[in-house]
Symmetry: C2
Subunit: 283 residues, 2 copies
Protein backbone atom coordinates (compact mmCIF):
# COMPACT_ATOMS: atom_id res chain seq x y z
CA UNK A 1 0.00 0.00 0.00
CA UNK A 2 1.18 3.52 -0.80
CA UNK A 3 -0.03 5.95 1.84
CA UNK A 4 -0.06 9.57 0.74
CA UNK A 5 -0.30 11.51 3.95
CA UNK A 6 -0.88 15.22 4.49
CA UNK A 7 1.17 16.69 7.34
CA UNK A 8 -0.83 19.87 7.76
CA UNK A 9 0.65 23.29 8.20
CA UNK A 10 3.08 23.90 11.02
CA UNK A 11 4.76 21.15 13.00
CA UNK A 12 5.00 17.40 13.61
CA UNK A 13 1.84 17.34 15.76
CA UNK A 14 -0.34 18.57 12.88
CA UNK A 15 -0.44 15.08 11.38
CA UNK A 16 -3.76 13.31 12.01
CA UNK A 17 -4.02 10.39 14.42
CA UNK A 18 -4.84 8.20 11.41
CA UNK A 19 -1.83 9.52 9.52
CA UNK A 20 0.53 8.93 12.44
CA UNK A 21 -0.69 5.35 12.84
CA UNK A 22 -0.03 4.75 9.13
CA UNK A 23 3.48 6.25 9.32
CA UNK A 24 4.32 4.05 12.29
CA UNK A 25 3.23 0.96 10.34
CA UNK A 26 5.17 1.81 7.14
CA UNK A 27 8.47 0.24 6.14
CA UNK A 28 9.77 3.31 4.32
CA UNK A 29 8.79 6.94 4.86
CA UNK A 30 9.44 9.65 2.24
CA UNK A 31 9.00 13.37 2.82
CA UNK A 32 8.21 15.50 -0.24
CA UNK A 33 10.40 18.54 0.23
CA UNK A 34 9.86 20.91 -2.68
CA UNK A 35 6.30 22.27 -2.81
CA UNK A 36 6.06 23.41 0.80
CA UNK A 37 7.82 23.17 4.16
CA UNK A 38 6.88 22.54 7.74
CA UNK A 39 8.25 24.85 10.40
CA UNK A 40 10.22 21.98 11.96
CA UNK A 41 13.10 19.98 10.54
CA UNK A 42 13.38 16.36 9.46
CA UNK A 43 15.09 15.32 12.72
CA UNK A 44 12.05 16.39 14.70
CA UNK A 45 9.79 14.31 12.45
CA UNK A 46 12.09 11.31 12.83
CA UNK A 47 12.08 11.61 16.61
CA UNK A 48 8.29 11.89 16.62
CA UNK A 49 7.78 8.92 14.28
CA UNK A 50 10.55 6.82 15.80
CA UNK A 51 11.97 5.97 12.37
CA UNK A 52 14.08 7.48 9.59
CA UNK A 53 12.54 9.85 7.06
CA UNK A 54 13.91 9.92 3.50
CA UNK A 55 13.75 13.31 1.83
CA UNK A 56 12.28 13.16 -1.69
CA UNK A 57 13.35 16.03 -3.91
CA UNK A 58 11.46 17.06 -7.01
CA UNK A 59 13.78 15.09 -9.27
CA UNK A 60 13.36 11.97 -7.13
CA UNK A 61 9.59 12.06 -7.33
CA UNK A 62 9.42 12.94 -11.00
CA UNK A 63 12.12 10.70 -12.37
CA UNK A 64 12.77 8.06 -9.76
CA UNK A 65 9.30 7.06 -8.65
CA UNK A 66 10.44 3.45 -9.13
CA UNK A 67 12.39 3.64 -5.89
CA UNK A 68 9.51 5.23 -3.98
CA UNK A 69 7.07 2.59 -5.24
CA UNK A 70 9.48 -0.34 -4.83
CA UNK A 71 7.71 -3.35 -3.27
CA UNK A 72 4.73 -1.18 -2.34
CA UNK A 73 2.48 -3.98 -3.53
CA UNK A 74 3.82 -6.04 -0.61
CA UNK A 75 4.91 -3.57 2.08
CA UNK A 76 3.51 -0.25 3.25
CA UNK A 77 5.26 2.91 2.07
CA UNK A 78 4.42 6.43 3.25
CA UNK A 79 4.81 9.54 1.11
CA UNK A 80 4.42 12.61 3.31
CA UNK A 81 3.31 15.93 1.89
CA UNK A 82 3.18 19.21 3.78
CA UNK A 83 -0.39 20.52 3.80
CA UNK A 84 -2.82 18.29 1.92
CA UNK A 85 -1.50 15.83 -0.68
CA UNK A 86 -3.39 17.21 -3.66
CA UNK A 87 -2.04 20.71 -3.85
CA UNK A 88 0.53 19.91 -6.52
CA UNK A 89 0.37 18.01 -9.80
CA UNK A 90 3.29 15.69 -9.19
CA UNK A 91 1.40 13.81 -6.50
CA UNK A 92 -1.40 13.00 -8.91
CA UNK A 93 1.28 11.67 -11.20
CA UNK A 94 2.66 9.40 -8.43
CA UNK A 95 -0.85 8.08 -7.75
CA UNK A 96 -1.32 7.23 -11.42
CA UNK A 97 2.04 5.42 -11.58
CA UNK A 98 1.19 3.42 -8.47
CA UNK A 99 -2.20 2.38 -9.83
CA UNK A 100 -0.63 1.35 -13.14
CA UNK A 101 1.48 -1.13 -11.17
CA UNK A 102 -1.47 -2.46 -9.23
CA UNK A 103 -0.38 -0.77 -6.00
CA UNK A 104 -3.23 0.32 -3.73
CA UNK A 105 -3.13 3.98 -2.78
CA UNK A 106 -4.68 5.49 0.32
CA UNK A 107 -4.78 9.21 0.92
CA UNK A 108 -4.93 10.75 4.37
CA UNK A 109 -6.01 14.35 4.05
CA UNK A 110 -5.04 17.34 6.12
CA UNK A 111 -5.32 21.10 6.23
CA UNK A 112 -3.61 23.15 3.55
CA UNK A 113 -3.38 26.86 2.93
CA UNK A 114 -6.23 26.38 0.41
CA UNK A 115 -8.71 26.01 3.27
CA UNK A 116 -6.76 27.38 6.26
CA UNK A 117 -6.81 30.78 4.55
CA UNK A 118 -10.27 30.98 6.13
CA UNK A 119 -8.32 32.04 9.25
CA UNK A 120 -8.20 35.51 7.67
CA UNK A 121 -11.94 35.76 8.33
CA UNK A 122 -12.56 35.92 4.59
CA UNK A 123 -15.18 33.37 3.60
CA UNK A 124 -13.95 30.51 1.42
CA UNK A 125 -17.10 30.85 -0.71
CA UNK A 126 -15.93 34.28 -1.78
CA UNK A 127 -12.61 33.11 -3.20
CA UNK A 128 -12.07 32.63 -6.90
CA UNK A 129 -9.25 30.66 -8.47
CA UNK A 130 -5.93 30.44 -6.63
CA UNK A 131 -2.77 31.79 -8.28
CA UNK A 132 0.97 31.34 -7.82
CA UNK A 133 3.41 34.23 -7.84
CA UNK A 134 7.01 33.43 -8.74
CA UNK A 135 10.19 35.37 -7.95
CA UNK A 136 10.80 37.92 -10.69
CA UNK A 137 14.33 38.17 -12.03
CA UNK A 138 15.78 40.84 -14.28
CA UNK A 139 14.87 38.92 -17.41
CA UNK A 140 12.11 36.58 -16.29
CA UNK A 141 8.93 38.21 -15.07
CA UNK A 142 6.04 35.90 -15.85
CA UNK A 143 2.87 37.71 -14.84
CA UNK A 144 0.01 35.62 -16.21
CA UNK A 145 -1.24 35.29 -12.62
CA UNK A 146 -2.40 38.87 -13.06
CA UNK A 147 -4.96 37.77 -15.66
CA UNK A 148 -6.37 35.29 -13.17
CA UNK A 149 -6.50 37.93 -10.42
CA UNK A 150 -8.30 40.25 -12.82
CA UNK A 151 -10.85 37.52 -13.63
CA UNK A 152 -11.54 37.08 -9.92
CA UNK A 153 -11.66 40.81 -9.30
CA UNK A 154 -14.22 41.35 -12.06
CA UNK A 155 -16.47 38.86 -10.23
CA UNK A 156 -15.83 40.58 -6.90
CA UNK A 157 -13.96 37.54 -5.56
CA UNK A 158 -10.94 37.26 -3.30
CA UNK A 159 -7.72 35.74 -4.65
CA UNK A 160 -5.37 33.53 -2.68
CA UNK A 161 -1.82 34.03 -3.97
CA UNK A 162 0.61 31.21 -3.19
CA UNK A 163 4.17 32.44 -3.08
CA UNK A 164 7.23 30.94 -4.70
CA UNK A 165 9.57 28.54 -2.96
CA UNK A 166 13.07 27.91 -4.32
CA UNK A 167 14.86 24.89 -2.92
CA UNK A 168 17.93 23.14 -4.30
CA UNK A 169 18.62 25.95 -6.74
CA UNK A 170 22.01 25.79 -8.42
CA UNK A 171 24.07 28.77 -9.54
CA UNK A 172 24.72 28.90 -13.29
CA UNK A 173 28.34 28.07 -12.56
CA UNK A 174 27.60 25.01 -10.43
CA UNK A 175 24.98 23.88 -12.90
CA UNK A 176 27.43 24.08 -15.81
CA UNK A 177 30.13 22.30 -13.87
CA UNK A 178 27.63 19.65 -12.79
CA UNK A 179 28.36 20.31 -9.15
CA UNK A 180 25.66 19.25 -6.71
CA UNK A 181 26.04 22.44 -4.72
CA UNK A 182 22.83 24.23 -3.91
CA UNK A 183 21.96 27.79 -2.98
CA UNK A 184 20.21 28.41 0.35
CA UNK A 185 16.42 27.95 0.05
CA UNK A 186 14.35 31.05 -0.64
CA UNK A 187 10.73 31.65 0.32
CA UNK A 188 8.91 34.65 -1.09
CA UNK A 189 7.74 37.03 1.64
CA UNK A 190 4.29 38.60 1.34
CA UNK A 191 5.96 42.01 1.16
CA UNK A 192 7.83 41.05 -2.01
CA UNK A 193 4.66 39.58 -3.51
CA UNK A 194 2.88 42.87 -2.85
CA UNK A 195 5.76 44.73 -4.45
CA UNK A 196 5.69 42.55 -7.55
CA UNK A 197 1.93 43.03 -7.86
CA UNK A 198 2.44 46.80 -7.73
CA UNK A 199 5.14 46.51 -10.40
CA UNK A 200 2.83 44.57 -12.73
CA UNK A 201 0.05 47.07 -12.10
CA UNK A 202 2.44 49.91 -12.95
CA UNK A 203 2.93 48.31 -16.38
CA UNK A 204 -0.57 47.07 -17.05
CA UNK A 205 -2.55 49.90 -15.44
CA UNK A 206 -5.71 47.85 -14.99
CA UNK A 207 -6.58 49.51 -11.69
CA UNK A 208 -6.77 46.21 -9.79
CA UNK A 209 -3.56 45.93 -7.78
CA UNK A 210 -3.24 49.60 -6.99
CA UNK A 211 -1.30 51.06 -4.07
CA UNK A 212 -4.43 51.21 -1.92
CA UNK A 213 -5.96 47.88 -2.99
CA UNK A 214 -6.96 45.90 0.10
CA UNK A 215 -4.89 42.79 0.79
CA UNK A 216 -4.07 40.43 3.64
CA UNK A 217 -0.67 38.96 4.47
CA UNK A 218 -0.78 35.48 5.98
CA UNK A 219 2.37 34.20 7.70
CA UNK A 220 3.05 30.85 9.38
CA UNK A 221 -0.63 29.94 9.45
CA UNK A 222 -1.46 27.20 11.93
CA UNK A 223 1.58 27.86 14.14
CA UNK A 224 1.64 29.61 17.52
CA UNK A 225 3.49 32.33 15.71
CA UNK A 226 0.79 32.85 13.06
CA UNK A 227 0.44 36.41 11.79
CA UNK A 228 -2.43 37.81 9.72
CA UNK A 229 -2.29 41.47 8.73
CA UNK A 230 -4.69 43.47 6.58
CA UNK A 231 -3.82 46.68 4.80
CA UNK A 232 -3.16 48.31 1.46
CA UNK A 233 -0.78 46.66 -0.99
CA UNK A 234 1.58 49.56 -0.35
CA UNK A 235 1.50 48.93 3.42
CA UNK A 236 2.09 45.21 2.85
CA UNK A 237 4.98 45.93 0.49
CA UNK A 238 6.59 48.07 3.20
CA UNK A 239 6.09 45.58 6.05
CA UNK A 240 8.05 42.64 7.46
CA UNK A 241 5.99 39.62 8.45
CA UNK A 242 8.88 37.51 9.71
CA UNK A 243 9.85 33.92 8.95
CA UNK A 244 8.26 31.87 6.12
CA UNK A 245 5.88 30.58 4.84
CA UNK A 246 3.80 33.50 3.65
CA UNK A 247 0.75 33.85 1.45
CA UNK A 248 -1.15 36.89 0.29
CA UNK A 249 -4.86 37.45 -0.29
CA UNK A 250 -6.32 40.15 -2.51
CA UNK A 251 -9.73 41.17 -1.22
CA UNK A 252 -12.61 41.24 -3.70
CA UNK A 253 -15.52 43.68 -3.82
CA UNK A 254 -18.05 41.12 -2.50
CA UNK A 255 -16.50 41.62 0.95
CA UNK A 256 -19.28 41.60 3.52
CA UNK A 257 -19.57 43.17 6.95
CA UNK A 258 -18.55 40.17 9.06
CA UNK A 259 -15.45 39.65 6.92
CA UNK A 260 -14.54 43.32 7.31
CA UNK A 261 -14.92 43.04 11.10
CA UNK A 262 -12.26 40.34 11.26
CA UNK A 263 -9.97 42.31 8.94
CA UNK A 264 -10.25 45.24 11.35
CA UNK A 265 -9.01 43.00 14.18
CA UNK A 266 -5.93 42.30 12.08
CA UNK A 267 -5.34 45.76 10.66
CA UNK A 268 -1.79 46.95 10.09
CA UNK A 269 -3.24 50.35 10.92
CA UNK A 270 -6.90 50.60 11.85
CA UNK A 271 -7.49 54.18 10.70
CA UNK A 272 -6.10 53.62 7.26
CA UNK A 273 -7.92 50.25 6.96
CA UNK A 274 -11.19 51.96 7.83
CA UNK A 275 -10.46 54.60 5.21
CA UNK A 276 -9.86 51.90 2.57
CA UNK A 277 -13.01 50.01 3.59
CA UNK A 278 -15.02 53.21 3.27
CA UNK A 279 -13.44 54.33 0.00
CA UNK A 280 -13.18 51.00 -1.84
CA UNK A 281 -16.08 49.02 -0.34
CA UNK A 282 -18.38 51.65 1.15
CA UNK A 283 -18.51 49.78 4.48
CA UNK B 1 -8.70 29.62 25.96
CA UNK B 2 -11.27 28.71 23.32
CA UNK B 3 -9.91 26.01 21.03
CA UNK B 4 -11.68 25.78 17.70
CA UNK B 5 -10.67 22.39 16.37
CA UNK B 6 -11.27 20.87 12.95
CA UNK B 7 -12.12 17.17 13.04
CA UNK B 8 -11.42 16.43 9.39
CA UNK B 9 -13.62 14.39 7.14
CA UNK B 10 -14.49 10.87 8.16
CA UNK B 11 -14.00 9.47 11.64
CA UNK B 12 -12.61 10.11 15.13
CA UNK B 13 -9.02 9.37 14.03
CA UNK B 14 -8.99 12.24 11.53
CA UNK B 15 -8.38 14.75 14.30
CA UNK B 16 -4.77 15.95 14.42
CA UNK B 17 -2.43 14.92 17.21
CA UNK B 18 -2.37 18.57 18.31
CA UNK B 19 -6.16 18.71 18.24
CA UNK B 20 -6.52 15.55 20.29
CA UNK B 21 -4.09 16.83 22.93
CA UNK B 22 -6.13 20.03 23.19
CA UNK B 23 -9.42 18.13 23.53
CA UNK B 24 -7.98 16.00 26.28
CA UNK B 25 -6.91 19.11 28.20
CA UNK B 26 -10.24 20.94 27.85
CA UNK B 27 -12.83 21.20 30.59
CA UNK B 28 -15.83 21.30 28.25
CA UNK B 29 -16.05 19.95 24.70
CA UNK B 30 -18.73 21.10 22.24
CA UNK B 31 -19.43 19.50 18.87
CA UNK B 32 -20.92 21.71 16.19
CA UNK B 33 -23.56 19.53 14.60
CA UNK B 34 -25.32 21.44 11.85
CA UNK B 35 -22.97 22.36 9.00
CA UNK B 36 -21.48 18.90 8.44
CA UNK B 37 -21.29 15.44 9.96
CA UNK B 38 -18.64 12.86 10.63
CA UNK B 39 -19.35 9.27 9.64
CA UNK B 40 -19.21 8.18 13.29
CA UNK B 41 -21.52 9.11 16.17
CA UNK B 42 -20.98 11.18 19.28
CA UNK B 43 -20.51 8.08 21.47
CA UNK B 44 -17.50 7.05 19.44
CA UNK B 45 -15.95 10.49 19.87
CA UNK B 46 -16.61 10.37 23.61
CA UNK B 47 -14.96 6.97 23.92
CA UNK B 48 -11.97 8.19 21.93
CA UNK B 49 -11.58 11.42 23.93
CA UNK B 50 -12.40 9.82 27.29
CA UNK B 51 -14.84 12.60 28.15
CA UNK B 52 -18.37 13.79 27.39
CA UNK B 53 -19.11 15.75 24.21
CA UNK B 54 -21.90 18.36 24.26
CA UNK B 55 -23.73 18.73 20.96
CA UNK B 56 -24.09 22.37 19.88
CA UNK B 57 -27.00 22.97 17.53
CA UNK B 58 -27.25 25.98 15.29
CA UNK B 59 -29.53 27.80 17.74
CA UNK B 60 -27.09 27.13 20.60
CA UNK B 61 -24.14 28.61 18.76
CA UNK B 62 -26.00 31.58 17.36
CA UNK B 63 -28.08 32.58 20.38
CA UNK B 64 -26.45 30.97 23.37
CA UNK B 65 -22.77 31.53 22.79
CA UNK B 66 -22.64 32.77 26.41
CA UNK B 67 -22.81 29.19 27.62
CA UNK B 68 -20.12 28.00 25.20
CA UNK B 69 -17.80 30.84 26.19
CA UNK B 70 -18.55 30.61 29.94
CA UNK B 71 -15.33 30.90 31.98
CA UNK B 72 -13.23 30.38 28.83
CA UNK B 73 -10.96 33.17 30.07
CA UNK B 74 -9.99 30.84 32.94
CA UNK B 75 -10.49 27.27 31.67
CA UNK B 76 -9.98 25.63 28.31
CA UNK B 77 -13.05 24.97 26.18
CA UNK B 78 -13.07 23.06 22.88
CA UNK B 79 -15.45 23.74 20.01
CA UNK B 80 -15.20 20.91 17.49
CA UNK B 81 -16.11 21.45 13.86
CA UNK B 82 -16.28 18.72 11.22
CA UNK B 83 -13.83 19.52 8.43
CA UNK B 84 -11.95 22.78 8.97
CA UNK B 85 -13.34 25.41 11.36
CA UNK B 86 -13.68 28.19 8.82
CA UNK B 87 -16.11 26.71 6.35
CA UNK B 88 -19.14 28.41 7.85
CA UNK B 89 -19.87 31.97 8.93
CA UNK B 90 -21.15 31.19 12.42
CA UNK B 91 -17.71 30.15 13.58
CA UNK B 92 -16.26 33.51 12.62
CA UNK B 93 -19.04 35.01 14.69
CA UNK B 94 -18.08 32.88 17.71
CA UNK B 95 -14.44 33.96 17.35
CA UNK B 96 -15.45 37.62 17.33
CA UNK B 97 -17.63 37.18 20.43
CA UNK B 98 -14.80 35.44 22.26
CA UNK B 99 -12.30 38.17 21.41
CA UNK B 100 -14.74 40.86 22.53
CA UNK B 101 -14.67 39.23 25.96
CA UNK B 102 -10.93 39.03 26.06
CA UNK B 103 -10.90 35.25 25.57
CA UNK B 104 -7.90 33.90 23.64
CA UNK B 105 -8.83 31.80 20.62
CA UNK B 106 -6.66 29.12 19.06
CA UNK B 107 -7.62 27.38 15.85
CA UNK B 108 -6.45 23.90 14.97
CA UNK B 109 -6.97 23.35 11.26
CA UNK B 110 -7.85 20.19 9.41
CA UNK B 111 -8.89 18.92 6.00
CA UNK B 112 -12.23 19.99 4.61
CA UNK B 113 -14.02 19.21 1.39
CA UNK B 114 -12.70 22.57 0.10
CA UNK B 115 -9.22 21.07 -0.29
CA UNK B 116 -9.91 17.31 -0.15
CA UNK B 117 -11.86 17.68 -3.39
CA UNK B 118 -8.38 17.44 -4.94
CA UNK B 119 -8.90 13.67 -4.48
CA UNK B 120 -10.94 13.84 -7.69
CA UNK B 121 -7.70 14.49 -9.55
CA UNK B 122 -8.96 17.93 -10.52
CA UNK B 123 -6.39 20.56 -9.64
CA UNK B 124 -7.39 22.99 -6.91
CA UNK B 125 -5.93 25.84 -8.98
CA UNK B 126 -8.58 25.20 -11.60
CA UNK B 127 -11.52 25.68 -9.26
CA UNK B 128 -13.51 28.89 -9.16
CA UNK B 129 -15.84 29.94 -6.36
CA UNK B 130 -17.61 27.25 -4.36
CA UNK B 131 -21.41 27.12 -4.35
CA UNK B 132 -24.10 25.56 -2.15
CA UNK B 133 -27.12 23.77 -3.55
CA UNK B 134 -30.19 23.57 -1.32
CA UNK B 135 -33.09 21.12 -1.43
CA UNK B 136 -35.75 22.43 -3.80
CA UNK B 137 -39.33 22.29 -2.59
CA UNK B 138 -42.51 22.86 -4.60
CA UNK B 139 -42.54 26.54 -3.83
CA UNK B 140 -38.91 27.31 -2.89
CA UNK B 141 -36.34 26.81 -5.60
CA UNK B 142 -33.53 29.29 -5.01
CA UNK B 143 -31.13 28.91 -7.92
CA UNK B 144 -28.71 31.80 -7.60
CA UNK B 145 -25.92 29.20 -7.36
CA UNK B 146 -26.42 28.79 -11.08
CA UNK B 147 -25.14 32.34 -11.70
CA UNK B 148 -21.97 31.48 -9.79
CA UNK B 149 -21.54 28.24 -11.75
CA UNK B 150 -21.98 30.19 -14.97
CA UNK B 151 -19.33 32.71 -13.88
CA UNK B 152 -16.89 29.85 -13.25
CA UNK B 153 -17.82 28.10 -16.49
CA UNK B 154 -17.20 31.24 -18.55
CA UNK B 155 -13.64 31.27 -17.14
CA UNK B 156 -13.24 27.54 -17.84
CA UNK B 157 -13.07 26.73 -14.13
CA UNK B 158 -14.40 23.80 -12.15
CA UNK B 159 -17.10 24.36 -9.54
CA UNK B 160 -17.33 22.55 -6.22
CA UNK B 161 -20.99 22.27 -5.20
CA UNK B 162 -21.61 21.70 -1.50
CA UNK B 163 -24.89 19.95 -0.92
CA UNK B 164 -27.61 20.79 1.55
CA UNK B 165 -27.89 19.25 5.00
CA UNK B 166 -31.13 19.44 6.96
CA UNK B 167 -30.90 18.60 10.62
CA UNK B 168 -33.43 19.31 13.37
CA UNK B 169 -36.13 20.27 10.88
CA UNK B 170 -39.61 20.61 12.34
CA UNK B 171 -42.83 19.88 10.50
CA UNK B 172 -45.13 22.89 10.11
CA UNK B 173 -47.46 21.29 12.62
CA UNK B 174 -44.80 20.69 15.26
CA UNK B 175 -43.40 24.16 14.67
CA UNK B 176 -46.81 25.78 15.18
CA UNK B 177 -47.50 23.74 18.30
CA UNK B 178 -44.05 24.58 19.63
CA UNK B 179 -43.19 20.89 19.93
CA UNK B 180 -39.48 20.06 19.98
CA UNK B 181 -40.00 17.09 17.66
CA UNK B 182 -37.63 16.89 14.74
CA UNK B 183 -37.75 15.20 11.36
CA UNK B 184 -35.00 12.69 10.52
CA UNK B 185 -31.87 14.42 9.14
CA UNK B 186 -31.57 14.71 5.36
CA UNK B 187 -28.39 14.93 3.31
CA UNK B 188 -28.61 15.80 -0.37
CA UNK B 189 -27.24 13.02 -2.56
CA UNK B 190 -25.12 13.95 -5.58
CA UNK B 191 -27.78 12.40 -7.83
CA UNK B 192 -30.41 14.84 -6.59
CA UNK B 193 -28.00 17.75 -6.99
CA UNK B 194 -27.41 16.68 -10.61
CA UNK B 195 -31.15 16.44 -11.14
CA UNK B 196 -31.77 19.92 -9.73
CA UNK B 197 -29.01 21.34 -11.93
CA UNK B 198 -30.69 19.78 -14.96
CA UNK B 199 -34.01 21.27 -13.87
CA UNK B 200 -32.54 24.77 -13.59
CA UNK B 201 -30.86 24.33 -16.98
CA UNK B 202 -34.22 23.30 -18.48
CA UNK B 203 -35.63 26.66 -17.38
CA UNK B 204 -32.65 28.91 -18.00
CA UNK B 205 -31.32 27.23 -21.16
CA UNK B 206 -27.80 28.64 -20.75
CA UNK B 207 -26.14 25.49 -22.09
CA UNK B 208 -23.94 25.02 -19.02
CA UNK B 209 -25.52 22.23 -16.98
CA UNK B 210 -26.71 20.17 -19.92
CA UNK B 211 -27.45 16.45 -19.86
CA UNK B 212 -23.95 15.63 -21.12
CA UNK B 213 -22.04 18.21 -19.06
CA UNK B 214 -19.11 16.52 -17.34
CA UNK B 215 -19.37 16.25 -13.57
CA UNK B 216 -17.90 14.26 -10.70
CA UNK B 217 -19.77 12.84 -7.72
CA UNK B 218 -17.76 12.72 -4.49
CA UNK B 219 -19.08 10.55 -1.67
CA UNK B 220 -17.69 9.98 1.85
CA UNK B 221 -14.32 11.50 0.94
CA UNK B 222 -11.54 10.53 3.33
CA UNK B 223 -13.25 7.32 4.48
CA UNK B 224 -12.36 3.76 3.49
CA UNK B 225 -15.66 3.79 1.70
CA UNK B 226 -14.85 6.86 -0.41
CA UNK B 227 -16.41 6.92 -3.87
CA UNK B 228 -15.51 9.24 -6.73
CA UNK B 229 -17.38 8.84 -10.01
CA UNK B 230 -17.10 10.88 -13.20
CA UNK B 231 -19.76 11.05 -15.87
CA UNK B 232 -22.41 13.20 -17.48
CA UNK B 233 -24.89 15.06 -15.31
CA UNK B 234 -27.56 12.71 -16.66
CA UNK B 235 -25.53 9.66 -15.57
CA UNK B 236 -24.97 11.18 -12.14
CA UNK B 237 -28.67 12.00 -11.79
CA UNK B 238 -29.48 8.35 -12.50
CA UNK B 239 -26.86 6.87 -10.12
CA UNK B 240 -26.81 5.94 -6.45
CA UNK B 241 -23.60 6.82 -4.60
CA UNK B 242 -24.64 5.41 -1.23
CA UNK B 243 -24.52 6.93 2.24
CA UNK B 244 -23.79 10.65 2.87
CA UNK B 245 -21.99 13.04 2.69
CA UNK B 246 -21.87 13.83 -1.00
CA UNK B 247 -20.53 16.71 -3.05
CA UNK B 248 -20.57 17.37 -6.76
CA UNK B 249 -18.03 18.98 -9.05
CA UNK B 250 -18.80 20.52 -12.42
CA UNK B 251 -15.79 20.24 -14.70
CA UNK B 252 -14.63 23.41 -16.47
CA UNK B 253 -13.15 23.69 -19.94
CA UNK B 254 -9.60 24.30 -18.68
CA UNK B 255 -9.44 20.57 -17.88
CA UNK B 256 -5.98 19.29 -18.74
CA UNK B 257 -4.71 15.87 -19.73
CA UNK B 258 -3.52 14.65 -16.33
CA UNK B 259 -6.83 15.64 -14.77
CA UNK B 260 -8.68 13.75 -17.50
CA UNK B 261 -6.53 10.65 -16.85
CA UNK B 262 -7.67 10.49 -13.24
CA UNK B 263 -11.30 11.05 -14.25
CA UNK B 264 -11.00 8.07 -16.59
CA UNK B 265 -9.92 5.92 -13.63
CA UNK B 266 -13.14 6.90 -11.90
CA UNK B 267 -15.51 6.78 -14.88
CA UNK B 268 -19.08 5.63 -14.36
CA UNK B 269 -18.72 4.28 -17.88
CA UNK B 270 -15.38 4.67 -19.66
CA UNK B 271 -16.70 4.68 -23.22
CA UNK B 272 -19.23 7.38 -22.60
CA UNK B 273 -16.69 9.39 -20.56
CA UNK B 274 -14.22 9.23 -23.43
CA UNK B 275 -16.96 10.37 -25.79
CA UNK B 276 -17.71 13.36 -23.55
CA UNK B 277 -14.01 14.21 -23.20
CA UNK B 278 -13.66 14.14 -26.98
CA UNK B 279 -16.84 16.06 -27.73
CA UNK B 280 -16.72 18.69 -24.95
CA UNK B 281 -12.98 19.07 -24.33
CA UNK B 282 -11.33 17.69 -27.47
CA UNK B 283 -9.04 15.44 -25.39
Amino acid sequence: MLYIIGLGLADERDITVKGLEAVKACERVYLEAYTSILMVDKQRLEAFYGKPVLVAHRETVESDSDEILRDADRVDVAFLVVGDPYGATTHTDLVLRARQRGISVKTIHNASIMNAVGATGLQLYNFGQTVSIVFFTDDWRPDSFYDRIAENARLGLHTLCLLDIKVREQSIENLMLGRQIFEPPRYMPASLAAQQLLEVEATRKTGICTEDALAVAVARVGSDDQLIRAGSLRQLADSDFGAPLHSLVLVGSRLHLLEADILRENAIDLDSLNAILKRNFDI
